[in-house]
């Protein structure tokens, strides 16, 4: 009964979404206030019904209802409670339902938390979100029904993929979806502005906090995925340029560009057309990501069992969304011309360059990701490996690091080369000297390390100067109070990048890795740490059997000692083997041990040992960036300005009616 309620709720939600998509839009065009007023309740009602559907599926998981095919395939009576909750999005049907729920949540948030946005504008935004929602609800109901019955019911479920039975992966998809789908709000604002033809910089201000929040979720989601891959897959890597990783990274890059171009559009009223285009691209890339993952054109950890009709549907949907919004853009873009000039030597100019680099990097990644698929369609079989992506990414983002520093100090509108040079020559020399000293202290001189450290220092030093300039010769308290949160957000975002750069530079260049055969009693030294293997023991735990290796680790000076217990697990229901690495985490280094396979009767095992310097800084940097995003989104000027706007719009509304 419960699954049928869920199914019914989905259909009701679709009907509401159709109303939400059409009626307010028509009302806005013909000036019918009642129709416009329908947008908010429709969005909230849609949220309610999608929520009910989602709740029903969760209930089916919690109550072990194996008469629901999806539950029978992805759960088991032995599955721990938390993985029954996260199991809902453990595969295709449920994760699409989560997508739809997240979209409904964002729509609901737009309905409730945009007090300053004129009602007509809000109605248009909600209508656009409603259209997207229609697309996804149709997809769920038509091709991926999570409530499909299995008759007769299975006696026992076939368990959740053991890879997904992990806390990191339990929260990775929701975070990622909040990010992906969050870009639909900026997209909807742009489309709404294009439809109305009233494109002033106000919409940039409305779209900004939403974009920041979406971006921060996406940042955390990607970082969490990377962290999970690091400790769960047993390869010790943190990024593989897997097409699915790229699918999440491309919207992030364009989203980053969008945040910056929204800043120019809000501040200077320029680049309106470009900003609108970026918001279309950010959301289109999110959809493309969904297509790549769900259609089965890619085979990877993320690509669930696929069905060609699904791929065709998403591809069609993608074509409608991208084609439709680009057509609208082409029609309306001439309205977006701005009168102001942009000079290269100004903050506007550096932000523009930032956008150019980020877009080109995204283009390069898109090329590398889609090329094999295009060749495959023509009958060839190729793959594009990490060397391509590393080369492209590093060579194109290195100039961005330099730009961050200049961008924080340069003036809006127009600056002089002389002034910049005077300001930056001392910090630049200081950075080079410090970077030289630090990289000489490393175990081995590497140019890459020097450049990475110099880049991180450059960003940090210019950030300090930026702070100094704001607080210099002013009363501390009142300056603290008058400084907008966005300023701290900007600083944190950039410092996060600096921390991240240190992490990737040192990890990639100074990691030590050893695959070796170890019998009980054997010792091996990696990077000054002596690893001794004491043998393995078997344990029976809930839904798996673990072969647990025991290692003692000692630093050669004796100052550090610990025990590590990597596991080889066999998950009983599917008879799946899994490697569970043991990691001793630290701020300056991780020690990582993974068990390979047993080699002989005497208890020797293949063992993988890693020494990974500064790897935590990668995720730490991402967390700092995300906090920066939170600061930026919480800037009070969005609220105060929107209040002022609210009065203006009420007047406007009165005039309309």
């Amino acid at each position: 009964m419960i699954p049928e309620i869920g199914q019914f709720a989905l259909i009701v939600a679709l009907c509401i979404a159709v109303i939400q998509a059409l009626v307010p839009l028509a009302g806005a065009s013909f000036g019918i206030q009642r129709w416009v007023a329908l947008a908010v309740p429709a969005a909230l009602a849609q949220l309610l019904f999608v929520g009910i559907a989602y709740g029903c599926l969760t209930w089916a998981f919690l109550s072990h209802d194996f008469s629901v095919l999806y539950v029978a395939q992805h759960s088991n009576t032995k599955l721990p409670l938390i993985y029954r909750i996260s199991g809902v999005w453990g595969s295709h049907e449920g994760s699409l339902l989560l997508w739809t729920l997240v979209l409904a949540l964002w729509s609901g948030a737009v309905a409730l938390f945009t007090p300053g946005v004129p009602r007509v504008m809000r109605a248009r935004v909600l209508a656009v979100l409603g259209m997207v929602s229609c697309g996804f609800l149709l997809f769920v109901i038509g091709t991926s029904n999570p409530f499909e019955r299995l008759l007769p019911a299975a006696a026992e479920g076939s368990d959740l993929n053991p890879l997904l039975q992990d806390i990191g992966l339990a929260i990775h998809p929701p975070l990622l979806y909040f990010g992906y789908v969050g870009f639909s709000v900026a997209f909807a604002f742009s489309i709404a502005a294009l439809i109305s033809g009233q494109v002033d910089s106000a919409w940039a201000r409305w779209a900004r906090p939403w974009t920041n929040i979406a971006w921060l979720f996406l940042t955390l989601g990607i970082a969490l995925g990377s962290w999970w891959a690091y400790y769960e897959l047993g390869w010790g890597g943190w990024w593989f340029w897997d097409p699915v990783e790229n699918a999440s990274f491309m919207p992030w890059l364009i989203g980053t560009a969008l945040m910056h171009s929204l800043a120019i559009t809000e501040k200077r009223g320029t680049f309106k057309a470009w900003t609108a285009l970026l918001s279309i691209f950010a959301f289109s890339l999110s959809l493309l990501g969904t297509f790549l993952v769900r259609s089965g054109v890619l085979t990877s950890v993320h690509a669930f069992a696929s069905d060609p009709s699904r791929g065709k549907y998403i591809l069609g949907f993608l074509a409608v969304v991208v084609g439709g919004s680009l057509a609208l853009y082409a029609w309306r873009a001439p309205l977006l011309r701005s009168a102001a000039q942009t000079r290269l030597l100004s903050r506007d100019g550096t932000l523009l360059l930032n956008n150019a680099f980020l877009s080109v990097v995204t283009g390069a990644i898109l090329l590398g990701t889609l090329y094999p698929i295009a060749i495959d369609a023509m009958g060839g079989k190729i793959s594009v490996g990490p060397p391509y992506f590393n080369l492209m990414f590093i060579s194109l983002t290195a100039p961005l690091g330099v730009l961050i520093g200049i961008g924080m100090l340069i003036r809006w509108k127009q600056d002089s080369l002389q002034r910049l040079f005077d300001q930056l020559k001392v910090p630049a020399l200081l950075v080079v000297a410090l970077a030289l000293a630090l990289s000489l202290a490393l175990p081995q001189w590497l140019w890459g390390a020097f450049l990475g450290i110099a880049m991180a220092l450059w960003i940090s030093v210019t950030a300090v100067i930026t702070i100094h300039r704001r607080f210099h010769n002013r009363a501390l308290l009142s300056t603290l109070r008058s400084t907008p949160a966005g300023f701290y957000g900007m600083l944190l975002g950039h410092l996060g990048i600096a921390v991240f750069i240190i992490g990737i530079t040192l990890t990639s260049l100074y990691t030590q890795e050893k695959d070796l055969r170890m019998a009980p009693g054997d010792s091996y030294t990696v990077a000054g740490y002596e690893f001794t293997f004491r043998g393995v023991r078997k344990f029976n735990i809930e839904n798996y059997v673990a072969t647990r290796g025991s290692f003692s680790v000692r630093s050669s000076d004796g100052g550090f000692q610990t025990d590590l217990f990597p596991e080889k697990r066999i998950y009983l229901v599917r008879n799946n083997p899994m490697t569970e690495a043991a990691i001793d985490a630290g701020l300056t280094r991780d020690l990582f041990i993974a068990l390979g396979e047993p080699l002989d009767e005497q208890g020797a095992w293949a063992v993988r040992i890693y020494y990974k310097p500064f790897i935590r800084w990668i995720w730490l940097g991402a967390i700092i960036m995300a906090i920066g995003g939170l600061f930026a989104a919480s800037d009070r000027r969005y609220r105060s300005l929107s209040r002022r706007r609210a009065r203006v719009s009420q007047d406007a509304a009165r005039q309309v009616s």
Partner: protein, 144 residues
């Protein structure tokens, strides 16, 4: 041309130049970093390069996996049900590497026609079959 227009033009040229350089860079490095895929039959018939890394995919022949010596080197036969090639790999095999499973190996051929793998991939799904192999088995698959 007014100075403002000149600047605008310079800006546009700079951007076009940047994009062109980027695209040029991308295509060149793409060209250098593409790995081609071959089946064991294609390798036997000499279609695979002898000096470049490539990918080979197939099924691990039942009973062929063994470890010569006492190190981490493992040897097995990879087949596409017509021909098979000996693969040598030193290191830790992925969790889902099993006899009878589809895998993909990245590596090079040595002088005696053995495939020296630098990396062995088995996907994390018990039903996984390399897409390239799935094509070869299309007839069989759909008959099931």
């Amino acid at each position: 041309m007014t100075p403002a227009r000149k600047k605008r033009l310079a800006l546009i040229l700079l951007m076009v130049g940047g994009v062109a350089t980027g695209v040029g860079f991308a295509l060149k490095s793409l060209d250098q970093n593409i790995m081609f895929f071959f089946s064991p039959s294609e390798v036997i018939s000499g279609k695979a390069p002898t000096d470049k890394l490539f990918r080979m995919g197939g099924m691990v022949v039942e009973g062929s996996v063994h470890r010569p010596g006492d190190g981490l080197t493992v040897e097995f036969d990879l087949t596409d049900n017509e021909h098979s090639v000996i693969v040598k790999y030193t290191g830790i095999l992925p969790d889902l590497f099993r006899e009878g499973q589809g895998i993909i190996a990245n590596g090079k051929l040595n002088a005696s026609g053995e495939f020296i793998a630098e990396e062995v991939l088995a996907k994390h799904d018990e039903n996984y079959m390399p897409p390239e192999l799935a094509d070869m088995h299309d007839g069989k698959e759909s008959a099931q």
